[in-house]
Each structure stands twice: as C-alpha cells, then as structure tokens.
C-alpha cells in the first residue's frame, strides 16, 4: 500500500515538474517564434522594396547604350606609399573562388565585453568589426606590407606626407542592423548610403575627450584637421609627417552617424551630448553592430555564442569563403576545449606546445597525422589537420645596462654564446618558434639576412669573459673580478613571471650552462603585477620579457635613449646608442619602403652587435582543424570543412591564425 502511495506521489511530482517547466519555456519559445516571424516579414518587405526599385529602374531605363562596367582608376599604384599620385593597388579579389563559397566555421573565442568599436578594445571586438566593417584601404593577406583600395578608390598623399586625400567608392550602403526588424526601430529600415561624413563622424567621436576611448585616441592625437568637401572626398591633415599616421589614416573605418548620432526613437542627439551619450549608447545595449562590411552579427549572447552571417547586400567580394562564422563562447578551459574540438563541435582550434607534444608528437590522438621531417605540410592530411602558424611576437632576456656587470658589451655577447637557443627550442618548446637575432621577424621583408647568429660556444664565451676581466682568481669555481679593491663573484638574478613552465625549463637549462662556465644564476619568479613594477623601476639584473610587434616597424619606443629615462618608458634595459637614436628618428619620418628597410637593417646590425637583449625566439603556435573523415560515414551538415586549400601557401607567412582560418572552404 505504501509503495503504491509513494509511486503515485512521485508520478504526480514528475507531472507537476513537467507542467511547471513547460509553462516556463513558453515565453522563450514564443519570443523565438516572434523573432523568426519578424525576420520573415522583414525579408519579404525588403524584397518588395527591391522589386519596386527594380521596376522604377526598368521604367526609367535610358535608351543610350550601357557604358559597360566602370573601369578602375587608371592611375592606381603598386601599394607602396608615395607622394603625389594615387598609390593604392586596385581592389583585387582574384583569389576568391565563388565555387568554394559556403559552410559554417565554428571556433572558440572569449566573450567580447561589448561590441562598440571604440569603447571595447579587446581583440575579439576588433575582429568582429574587421568582419562587419571595412576601412579606407586594406592590407591584403598575401602582401600585408602593401595597401589595397577598400572603401577609398584612391588615396593621394601630398604636402610631405601630411595631407591625405581620399576619394570614396560610390554605391556603398550601410548594413540594415538586426534590430530594425523590431517595429520600434522602423526608422532604421531606410537605406543609408556611406558618405565621407561617416568617416568625419568616426574621427569626431575618437577625438571627443568625453568618449571613453583613450587607447584609440592616441593614434589620432596628432591629427590637425579633417575635412569633407563633398560626399565622396575626405581630407586628413596631420601636424607632423610621422610614419604611424599612415596606418592611422588608411586604416580608418567609418562609424554609422545615422545610428550613433540618434536617440532610440530616431531623433537626433544634440551635438554637445553626442560624446557622453556615446559611452552608454542604446545601440550598444542592444548589442548591435552596423558596418559596411561582408558579415553581419545576427546573434550575440555573452558567454554563449556570437554568430555572424554573410550580408547579402555587401558592396564588394568578401575575403572569406564561409557563409557563417560562429564563435562558441561557452567553453573557456583548454582541456574541455580540446575535447569539444575532438568531438567535432568546432572546426578550428589552437594547441599549446605541451598539447602539441602529447596529442601530435606522442600520437595520443591518432586522427592527427604524424610529424614528417621531410614534409612540413604533413599535418594537413590527417582526419584532424594541423599546421604551424607564426606570430609577430618575440621573447627575450633583457640585460640591465645600468648595472656595471651588463654595461660591458663583452659580457652580453658571452651570454648570447652560452645560451643554447636551438636546443631549448627543440626540447622545451618542441620545435615551435624560430631562433632570432634581432627584434625583426625573420620572415619580415626588412629582416637583415646577412646577420650571423651568435653561435652556442661556451669556450669562446669564457674567453670573452676573461677578456672583460672575469676569471676565477680565488679558485672557488666562480668567476670573479676585483672592483674597487673588493673581489666580486660573477652572479646575477633573472626575474620572470610565475606560471610559465616553459620559462622554468628554459632558465634551468641556462643555469646549468652558466654553472659550467663558473657563473652563478639566481632565478626569481613574480606575479604579473609585481613584474610591471620591476620593469617600471628597472629593478633587475636581467629580466624575461616579450613584445608583440606590428608590421610597421618603429624603433623609437623600445630603443631610443630618450625612452630609457622617462618614467615607465619601454626601454627598460637602458640601451643608449647615438647612432640608433639618429636612425630611429629618421625612420619615423621615412615613408619609402626601401629606404625604411635600409635603416631597419642597419639598426639590426647594431642591436645584434650590442646585444641589449638576448633575442630568443619568435612565437609560433599550432593551428588545428577538422578535415573530412577519409572514407568515414556520412557526416552531419556543416559539421566538417574540407580542410585547408593550397591557398594557405599563398598567404604571407606572418598572417596569424585568424587569417589562416579565412581560407577554409567547402567544396
């Protein structure tokens, strides 16, 4: 009897739960249904509009023969900045194969804080805007040091690289934002053409001190004025001819004035309040993104998903072949991410050196192809593909040249010869990364190929130290030298940040090497906050560091002697060299590519000789993706991508992982 009662009660409870849950799911279902319906209504309305426009066009069709497709500006250049005439390469999408178009690319990303292009400076936000918006000129993936026409058909630089005049492309219209489906935003449904005023609006926002975007503003602080003589002309005038203003001018993206200049109901915001309202604009609350680019954000749920879809009304040819891009934001830990990748939930993923070792080198995951020393592309053939990708970043050991020990060039050179770079890269980083001899990436056009790396040669290092006065006088096994009457043993400390097993291993190898030479090395680890203080106070003998570089090389910040003495300057090692100062100053005002490369090569020779840093390795990662299972069972739609096409080889080697994934295709 009791059992019957309990069963009955349990059944009633389950029924109750089902009913309650059912009721609670209804609003969500209705909402979703509503959204779908609205999207359908919107689509049919857009079609009606288009039909109307077409009818009008047909009715008003001129009897004169068609002038044919507009010919590109005949005066286009080779992409290298030059004075006087348009230097942009013509808009070129010959690498785009329409027959490859399609499919979804899913990958992991971390949640962007917000999607405002100026207020949120995370790399994810700028990637979203790179997909949804275009800039005046582009750096094509196969030749990133050149400039190609984008929203600007032509760019003319005059006035000794101070004035930039852009002629904008016509017929570009702003995307219709996703929120326009809602009737409350019916005023957003009209088609808005892109004009020079949208670029001026972007600059006005960036330069408005009330706007919370100091990071972006730095790039435009030297801008003297900007003018829009007509809808298709934009003129920027800089106070000084500085090389960095080139990228700031050409890379400028427009900002939709018809959205950020208006209130929620479509009425204009008073001019004086635009800046402060921009910081908390209703469009950002709706997680809206509006650009003139190839993709559109269709869904964004923080910590869940960000979904981008190809925008049908795009003015040009997109740079990626996929139709949809989905960022899974819900898996954050590397281990669960790897499992989700293996389960086929994402198509693209990156491996750390340690995971590369266990999954690929040790063959823990047999679906990855084995490493083949003879064939660098061997990783592409497995069921799961992998490929090395290079990053424009390097790591180093910095010697504090304010300390007497490292003020001596010979000691720094001896350190370079006592550091077994190749062996460490092979054993600690499993071959990921290239040994470097200067701060320019070996694949960069400005890299000086005549540099001969310091060899790993402990005997020569010892001789060099002896030359500098460091020998073992007292026979205690440690090198020493008499300074001011007292005998000083040769010992120093390297400070580096905790939680980096790779550096732990690297430095203990180095410590053994130095011990054999008679040098004592003390390893000290710190939290990152404390490391910042150490850099700032120059409170170190030697320190581990890393720099992310840009393709536009600038030597002022890192190596100019003036930066050694300003508070929080980046020349924390105190490197001072009059010739480097002179060259760095000259580089800032030199615009011609060859002249720049000549200066950069000369600086590299000096840096290599002076060894202010022990330049260690350029960063490399492993990029992995899903290939179609060879002979496998039929797969779910959109679950697999066909792998990397040969276009991967057509890429410039320094385009990072994000760009590699552009070249995924569906056959």
């Amino acid at each position: 009897m009791n059992a019957l009662k309990i069963t009955l009660l349990a059944l009633i409870a389950i029924l109750l739960v089902v009913v309650v849950v059912d009721r609670s799911r209804q609003p969500a279902q209705l909402g979703e249904l509503n959204r779908t319906l609205q999207a359908l209504t919107e689509a049919s309305r857009a079609q009606t509009d288009e039909l109307k426009a077409l009818r009008q066009q047909v009715a008003s069709r001129p009897t004169t023969p068609d002038p044919g497709p507009r010919t590109p500006d005949p005066s286009s250049g080779n992409g290298n900045p030059a004075l006087g005439a348009n230097f942009l390469m013509p808009y070129d999408r010959s690498r785009y194969h329409p027959e490859w178009q399609g499919g979804t690319l899913r990958s992991f990303a971390s949640s962007p804080k917000g999607l405002n292009p100026f207020l949120d400076n995370s790399s994810e936000t700028s990637e979203v805007h790179g997909l949804c918006n275009d800039s005046l000129a582009d750096r094509p993936a196969w030749a990133p040091e050149k400039w190609m026409a984008g929203l600007a058909e032509s760019a003319v630089i005059t006035d000794d690289y101070r004035t930039y005049t852009f002629r904008l492309r016509s017929g570009v219209t702003w995307q219709r934002p996703a929120c326009a489906r809602d009737d409350a935003f019916a005023w957003l449904r009209a088609e808005v053409p892109l004009t020079s005023a949208d670029f001026a609006f972007a600059l006005r926002i960036v330069l408005d001190p009330a706007v919370d975007c100091p990071q972006v503003r730095t790039y435009y602080e030297d801008l003297e004025k900007f003018e829009t003589p007509d809808d298709r002309t934009l003129i920027l005038r800089w106070k000084r001819p500085v090389y960095t203003s080139l990228a700031s001018s050409l890379g400028l993206s427009p900002l939709p004035r018809h959205i950020y200049g208006r209130n929620r109901d479509g009425t204009p915001i008073p001019e004086a309040q635009i800046g402060i309202q921009f910081n908390k604009h209703w469009f950002d609350d709706l997680k809206g993104v509006c650009g003139v680019g190839p993709f559109q954000v269709v869904e964004y749920q923080q910590d869940k998903i960000l979904r981008l879809e190809r925008y049908p009304g795009y003015w040009g040819v997109p740079s990626r072949h996929v139709d949809r891009i989905e960022w899974m934001l819900d898996v954050k830990q590397p281990d669960p991410q790897l499992i989700a990748f293996k389960n086929g939930q994402v198509q693209a993923f990156g491996l750390s050196p340690l995971k590369f070792k266990s999954e690929v080198l040790d063959r823990k995951e047999p679906r990855f192809a084995a490493v083949d020393p003879a064939n660098p592309k061997a990783g592409r053939s497995g069921e799961l593909g992998w490929e090395r990708t290079k990053r424009l970043a390097f790591s180093y050991l910095g010697w504090n040249q304010r300390r007497p020990l490292f003020a001596d060039k010979r000691v720094r050179q001896a350190m370079a010869m006592a550091f077994p770079k190749e062996r460490i890269i092979r054993d600690v980083f499993y071959g990921l990364g290239q040994p470097i001899c200067s701060d320019v990436h070996p694949d960069h056009t400005a890299y000086n190929r005549s540099l001969v790396p310091w060899p790993y040669d402990p005997a020569r290092a010892k001789a060099l130290l002896a030359e500098a006065g460091w020998t073992d006088h007292d026979g205690d096994g440690l090198l020493d030298r008499t300074i001011n009457g007292t005998s000083m043993p040769l010992t120093f400390a390297i400070k580096y940040y905790a939680n980096s097993p790779e550096w732990d291993n690297t430095l203990s190898i180095f410590r053994n090497e130095l011990k054999a030479l008679g040098i004592g090395l003390d390893l000290q680890t710190y939290e990152w906050k404390e490391m910042i203080r150490i850099y700032e106070d120059r409170d170190f003998d030697a320190v581990v560091g890393g720099w992310g570089m840009s393709l536009d090389i600038d030597y002022f910040q890192l190596w100019h002697s003036s930066q050694a003495d300003v508070p929080s300057g980046s020349n924390h090692c105190g490197f001072k060299n009059p010739r480097v100062d002179e060259l760095a100053d000259r580089l800032r005002t030199t615009f011609e590519a060859e002249a720049r490369n000549a200066i950069i090569r000369e600086i590299q020779v000096i840096l290599h000789e002076e060894q202010p840093y022990l330049f260690f390795r350029s960063t490399e990662g492993i990029f992995t993706w899903q290939n179609r299972p060879p002979g496998g069972k039929p797969v779910e739609k959109d679950r697999w991508l066909a792998g990397v096409v040969e276009d991967l080889d057509g890429l410039h080697p320094l385009r990072n992982r994000a760009q590699v994934s552009w070249h995924f295709v569906q056959p």
Binding site: Q345, D537, G548, M549, Q557, K633
Partner: protein
C-alpha cells in the same frame, strides 16, 4: 513557532551585515590603485606588452576607477579638511630629485588625483600663490583632474540635459587649462582661469563634517549595493544584471545535488549502521573513504575524458558541455527534461559524490550512537520491532546532525560548483566569480559574494525550520 522563526530571521541580519563588512574589507585591502589601472589600461596584457604609445587621457581612467568605488577613503573621509600646506608637502615630494622611486612617485601622483572635489580649493590656493611657481605644473594638472566630474552610465540617461551639458562644459574647460611652463603667457591666463573655476559652488566644502562618515568607500559600497549601482568594468554592465542571468543555474545544480546526496546517504548510512561490523559494512566504509579522498576536480576531468569524448563512431556517452542541447528549445517538454537530465548527470555526480560519502558516514556514526542509547533499549524492551526502533525512534534524533551538516553543505558546494562549471562548461555563478577574481573586478566579486552569502543564509534558515520540524523540544519551547 512564529517567535522561533522571527528570532532566527533576526539573527540573519547582523550575520549578513558582518559578512558584507568583512567582504568589503578584504577587497579593499587587496584593491588596486589608479597607477595600476593606468598601466593595465595601456595594453599590458599578461606575458606580452603591446607596442603602442602610452595612453594619456587620464580622465577616462579616473572615470573607471570612480565607478568601481575605489577612489574614496575606506571609513573616515577627512579630505574636506585638507589645507594648502598638506598638499604643498605632497606636491614637493613629487618633484624630481625628491628621492622617490619612479613607481612610488607615479603612485603618489595618481593618489593625489583621487582626492576629488574636496582638494580643488586648496590646490587653487597653491596655483594662485606665485611663490610656489615650481609646483604649478603638477598642481594645475592635479587640480584639473580633481575638479573633473565623472558621469555614471546610468546618470548619463537620467540626469536632466541642462545639468549634463553644464558638467560637460566644465570638464571641457578644465582640459584646456593645464599650465605649461614653456608657455608663460597662456600659463598665466590658465592660472587665473583655474583659480576662478575653483570658486564654482560644486567645489565648496560645506558638507565636510557630514562627509567624514557618510561619504566614504564603505558607505558608497553600501549605497551601490542597495540601489543596484554596482558596476562591473570587465563586463561593462551593472553587476546585478549579470548575476540575474546566471544564478538560477548554480542554484538548481546545488539544490539537486544536495537532494541526491541525501537520497543516497540516508539509505546507505542506515544500512551500514544496522549491519555494523559485517563484511558489507566494512567494504562500503573502506570504498567510500577511498572515494572521499579523491578530489572532485580530478573525478570531473576523468569523467570528461572518458565519458564525454567521442569514440571512433563519433558518439560520446554524455555531452561535454552545457546544460541543454542548442536546439532543445523546440523539443517537447518531457524530451527537454530528459535532455537536461542527460546533460546534468555527470556534473551532478561530480558535485554530489563527496557530500553523500561524508553524510552517510556521519549518519552511520550518529545512528550507531543512538542505537546504543537507553531509550532504544527501552523501546526494544517494550517490544518494538527493529524497523520501528530505527525509523521511528533513532532516525529522527540522528537527522539533527544531518540538518546541521546540510546547512554547511550549501556553501561547501558553492566552491565545488565552480570547478564543475569550469570542467563541464556550464555558465553559472561560480564561473562568473572566478572570472571576476582573475580580472580583479571588485564590484562583481562583491555583488556575487553577497548573493552567495544570501543563498547560504537561506540555507541556514531552511535548516532552522527543519530543526523545528525534527526536534519536538524546539516546538514545545516556542509553542
């Protein structure tokens, strides 16, 4: 009974206040400084600093710092009593050659900027004094930044437009007035303008006595807590909005794992106690102890690797992430519930195994003690059968221990749920809290902790209620 309930609920209030105070104190002790905010703001991500010029718009950083409520003194605000002499000494220490390290000077300069409106008048006196010309550049910069008025995101939409425009206009003027010693003519004009601007009624110090206790970091925190104005800089949203989206997942994971723990622990404990010293009892005890000593993050990772990874056929036994399938919204409700159960199975196992192990052992020990008590012997002597002795006499007494343990279980689970959320990629409160801690987002940590404490207190209240149900002594005392 109402008296008992009321008394229990009243006890919760001071506990809650005490916890809020401790929470605030701990966070303020480790709290960052504006100097750190500035150096983080210039793009120095961990491990690799980006090559870019240092950002120079200090007001925006000041805004951010003020929004996180870190600019005010902790408990006593004496800024209204700052004099010209105090600030003069501070400014002298900042001059080059004063023997301070760069980082220290940097920090102290930023601390000066945080003094806010109260320091405007004394700084203006310094700027007006020609004898202190050497201090003028630093003083005028500090003055413009102290006089700068931040507008909170919510206020930008609620303040009347004329007020907003006036504030903006004053801020804009301030920006133009920094004195540059290389340009003596404008420097002098700027100086006079700054002194005049400092006479703005916004900078009077009439309420300094009130402010001593009422305008401090702690009162500001409490105000934000009550009005819901806590703002998270890393999420760019108000804290309670973020928490509202997340708490339900954590809450139901926690509650169901407690229910599961009870459902397993009670029968297991009773069975063990009734068959004490038998082979079965020894085997369960030993194996449960082994299970207990395995940490839950380890078990979770093992489960993930072995049950959630697709085999050669492309199928896994359990899903590896989330609490429901992406398209489950359109499934029928029973199918949806089954899907949720399927997703929640491994997280619940990971969450509950440690608690049911310990609960069942406690219950066993307690029940054994009860079974040897005199009243049990009496019951047996009166002819009660074994089942009645255990279920009717001994178990209700043992359940008191269980209730006590369960109240604590809720907070214990909270830390456990964090690991489970990370391993099985579930978007809950624990994950949010970890994120906030790693990014040093103090308002978010405080908000989430307060919610967590709230849950814990609710747990304790429920436990108290259950005491009353289980223990006739309490009922009779408050009858």
């Amino acid at each position: 009974m109402t008296g008992y309930l009321l008394r229990r609920m009243l006890f919760l209030i001071p506990t809650f206040i005490g916890i809020v105070i401790i929470n605030f104190a701990v966070l303020r002790l480790q709290g960052g400084t504006l100097a750190e905010e500035l150096s983080q703001g210039t793009g120095e991500a961990a491990g690799e600093r980006r090559q870019q010029a240092a950002a120079q718009r200090y007001e925006n950083y000041l805004d951010r710092f003020r929004r996180s409520g870190n600019d005010l003194p902790v408990l006593i605000n004496l800024r209204g009593f700052l004099t010209k002499a105090d600030l003069e000494a501070d400014l002298r220490a900042l001059q080059p050659g004063s023997g301070l390290k760069d980082s220290e000077r940097n920090r102290r300069e930023k601390d000066l900027w945080l003094l806010g409106p109260a320091a405007v008048r004394p700084l203006a006196e310094i700027v007006a004094d020609p004898a202190l010309a050497a201090l003028h550049p630093t003083a005028s910069q500090a003055l413009t930044l102290c006089a700068y008025t931040s507008v909170e995101p919510r206020a930008a939409t609620t303040l009347p437009p004329p007020v907003l425009t006036a504030i903006q206009e004053r801020n804009r003027r301030l920006r133009e007035l920094v004195m540059d010693p290389r340009d003596p003519v404008t420097a002098d004009a700027n100086r006079q303008a700054l002194v005049a601007l400092a006479q703005d009624p916004a900078y009077n110090r009439d309420d300094r006595w009130r402010n001593v206790l009422l305008h401090t970091g702690f009162t500001d925190f409490c105000r934000r807590l009550v009005t819901g104005d806590l703002y998270s800089e890393t999420k760019k949203r108000y804290v309670f909005e973020v928490i509202a989206e997340r708490w339900s997942v954590t809450f139901w994971l926690n509650t169901s794992s407690i229910l599961i723990a009870w459902a397993v622990a009670v029968p297991l404990g009773i069975r063990s106690a009734r068959r004490v010293s038998s082979l079965e009892d020894r085997v369960t005890t030993e194996s449960l102890f082994v299970l207990w000593s395995v940490p839950s993050f380890f078990v979770g990772t093992l489960l993930l690797h072995h049950f959630c990874t697709a085999d050669a056929g492309g199928q896994a036994w359990f899903p590896n992430k989330g609490l429901s399938s992406p398209d489950s919204l359109w499934w029928s409700t029973p199918a949806y519930l089954l899907d949720v159960l399927w997703h929640a199975a491994l997280p619940l196992v990971t969450l509950s195994y440690a608690s049911f192990v310990s609960l069942s052992r406690y219950l066993r020990a307690d029940l054994l003690e009860q079974l040897h008590a005199d009243y049990i012997r009496t019951a047996r002597a009166k002819g009660a059968d074994d089942d009645r002795v255990v279920y009717h006499h001994a178990l209700p007494n043992s359940s008191l221990t269980m209730i006590t343990l369960s109240a604590g279980l809720l907070s214990e689970l909270f830390s456990g749920v964090l690991l489970v959320e990370l391993i099985f990629s579930i978007n809950g409160l624990g994950w949010l809290l970890l994120d906030a801690a790693l990014q040093r987002d103090a308002p978010l940590i405080m908000g989430a902790t307060v919610i967590q404490v709230g849950l814990l207190l609710v747990g304790i209240l429920i436990a108290d209620l259950l005491y009353a149900v289980a223990d006739p002594r309490i009922r009779s005392r408050y009858a």
